[in-house]
């Protein structure tokens, strides 16, 4: 078991390297010279000598005049020392910006996953146990419908219909969870709900197909024969075994979910990593963009790692691949 975990963790390292290289390369391809943007601040620089010098000075200080691989090496060295650099845009250390935004996005993502499981799994179970009945079709309809409604549309509608009907919108000002759970959840539950419902579709389907498989197993038949009640069998025995592929799916869907958080944060004005990315793009803030995107990839990889390890722990047959 330890060997498996160790192997997976070690595999993550070169992947993250690869990700950072790709991001770095892409970011430097960006049209629009940062130094010029910083100096000009929107004005046309003209042919003024002073502006040219300042621009060159800035480029030198940001190492933008060095060849790409040198720039990458410098960045990597800084990261190894724990310094992700300073944001061009907000002039604050990037580590701080990320540190501030990360818990918020994580909270949103966790809430969304919770909701998607809380909605999807029971629906899937019911659909499997009552296969081919009206309930089943309703459930499958729901899952396809949820999957087809874009998450940002659900989110938008969630903001807009209360506005239309009650003249009320969730607050735009963010309050941390520990400071005031009520206010925090009031803001976060809407986007989490939108994301959660959208992602509950595939979860429901996997639960359903997984349950259907497990329900056919011999030990379930034995339980029936022993006289155990339906509730006990379904919820107590089969669900635990059927849950394993659901776990794997959560890891897979997380990629979509993280992308969804970016859009949700824009709609609901939540100051998380998503808004940070969008802002960095607008402001051509290379280091910030690099830092945040590599972080997104790292989160994705880490969660998939955890999911795979959990999967291996729950199902020893997987471990030996």
């Amino acid at each position: 078991m330890q060997a498996y975990v160790l192997r997976r963790v070690l595999l993550m390292v070169p992947l993250l390297f690869g990700v950072s290289v790709v991001v770095f390369a892409m970011v430097r391809v960006l049209p629009g010279d940062v130094a010029t943007l910083m100096v000009a601040g929107g004005q046309d620089s003209g042919a003024s000598g002073v502006n040219e010098e300042t621009i060159q000075a800035i480029r030198r200080s940001l190492y933008l005049d060095q060849p790409l691989h040198v720039q990458y090496g410098i960045w990597l060295w800084q990261v190894a020392r724990g310094d992700l650099g300073t944001s061009y845009w907000t002039k604050r250390p990037i580590l701080d910006e990320i540190g501030r935004a990360l818990p918020i996005t994580i909270e949103l993502a966790v809430l969304a996953v919770l909701i998607s499981v809380l909605v999807g799994v029971p629906l899937g179970v019911v659909s499997a146990v009552r296969q081919d009945t009206g309930l089943d079709y309703a459930g499958r309809l729901f899952s396809i419908g949820a999957l087809s409604l874009p998450d940002f549309w659900i989110g938008t509608m969630l903001v807009l219909f209360p506005l239309l009907w009650f003249g009320w919108i969730p607050s735009i000002k963010y309050t941390p969870l520990l400071v005031d759970p009520g206010a925090n959840l009031q803001q976060m539950l809407f986007p989490a709900f939108a994301l959660g419902v959208h992602n509950s579709g595939p979860i429901m389907r996997i639960t359903r197909s997984s349950m259907l498989e497990v329900l056919r197993q011999d030990y379930v038949r034995t339980a029936w024969a022993k006289g155990l009640g339906e509730a006990r069998i379904v919820w107590g025995h089969t669900l635990k075994n059927a849950a394993i592929p659901v776990l794997s799916l959560i890891g897979v869907r997380l990629g979509r979910l993280l992308g969804g958080t970016v859009v949700m944060e824009q709609i609901f004005v939540i100051p998380g990593l998503g808004l940070l990315v969008l802002g960095a793009i607008t402001e051509r803030d290379y280091p910030l963009l690099q830092g945040v995107i590599v972080l997104f990839a790292a989160i994705f990889l880490l969660v998939n790692l955890i999911v795979d390890v959990l999967y291996a722990w729950l199902d020893p047959r997987i471990r030996y691949t």
């Binding site: 087809s148 996997i206 990629g255 859009v263």
Partner: protein, 302 residues
């Protein structure tokens, strides 16, 4: 027909489709998979509408009518007008063109590239396989939308760049599926037979293996199409999609849901319905195709 079973239980990865295609065959297919037929109907209708947009759209999508700002749906304007007096119905129709064009081309490009990589990588094995797959792994490490956002942001928001960004997103998925299929198919006797007859690698891959992995490719392409519409509209929603004046549903939704929702909810509702219906159609179609062509994929990628 009996096939000699190899030691490892590598049953043919692809279930041969049982339906024959002829007019009668299509009807039988439709009856077997009514939902899939519905999906196909939706998709075909959409394609027809998009192609016919220049003919059936009552107004040009750029045409602004200052005296008809934010008007509700009426006989003259089926879906109402927006804040610049443009007819929303026409814009939705032309938006279909954009979304379908971007979606189809992006998925076509991405799936083709991914399939080629999967074919080569799966058949060649060894170091080629290792390097190619590491590259694909790196691409897969990015959450989907984030990779698209990064690519479009870097290249600039033009339609072509959006296409490229989305193609990159779909390449690893196709690669994974095709490579898996190739790895299984590779063990079949017909591959050995071809090799014995003197067929080189390229011939084997493209003349023999490719037709047999076509089924999962079709499935993956159709499910990717649903994702493509979602990604394209998300990008447009964020302002990173095809730039104005090209009408896109995502951008219409974005504008319509910001400042104008109270006065003109139809600005947001109709594009939203359009997006949802399109995704629904592709999802239903993709599901049915998957059930018909390879039930083993069921539940693997929601």
């Amino acid at each position: 027909m009996e096939q000699e079973q190899p030691l490892v239980a590598a049953t043919p990865w692809v279930a041969r489709p049982q339906a024959r295609l002829g007019v009668g065959g299509i009807w039988a297919l439709a009856r077997r998979k009514p939902l899939g037929a519905l999906g196909a109907l939706i998709v075909l209708t959409l394609i027809a509408l998009a192609l016919a947009a220049p003919i059936i759209a009552p107004y040009d999508y750029r045409e602004q009518n200052r005296s008809e700002l934010l008007k509700p749906p009426s006989a003259a304007h089926l879906f109402g007008t927006d804040n610049l007096g443009r007819d929303i119905f026409s814009r939705v129709l032309y938006g279909a063109q954009t979304s379908l064009y971007v979606g189809l081309v992006a998925v076509g490009l991405g799936t083709t590239l991914g399939s080629v990589i999967g074919l080569i990588s799966g058949y060649a094995g060894g170091r080629t396989d290792l390097y190619l797959q590491r590259l694909m792994d790196v691409l897969m490490a990015f959450p989907t939308l984030i990779l698209a956002i990064l690519t479009v942001a870097m290249l600039g928001p033009t339609t072509t760049n959006v296409l490229l960004a989305m193609a990159i997103v779909f390449t690893p998925t196709a690669n994974r599926v095709v490579r898996g299929a190739v790895l299984a198919e590779k063990e079949n006797p017909y591959v050995d037979a071809a090799r014995a007859m003197g067929a080189g690698g390229g011939r084997i891959v493209f003349q023999h293996l490719l037709p047999n992995v076509l089924a999962p490719i079709i499935v993956i392409a159709s499910t990717s199409l649903a994702t493509a519409i979602l990604v394209e509209s998300s990008l447009s929603f964020l302002g990173l999609g095809p730039p104005p004046p090209t009408p896109t549903w995502g951008a219409m939704l974005s504008v319509g849901s910001r400042t104008f929702f109270e006065q003109a909810p139809w600005m947001a509702i109709f594009p939203g319905i359009a997006i949802s219906l399109t995704i629904l159609g592709f999802n239903l179609l993709g599901d049915a195709l998957r059930d018909l062509l390879d039930p083993r994929l069921r539940g693997a990628r929601g």
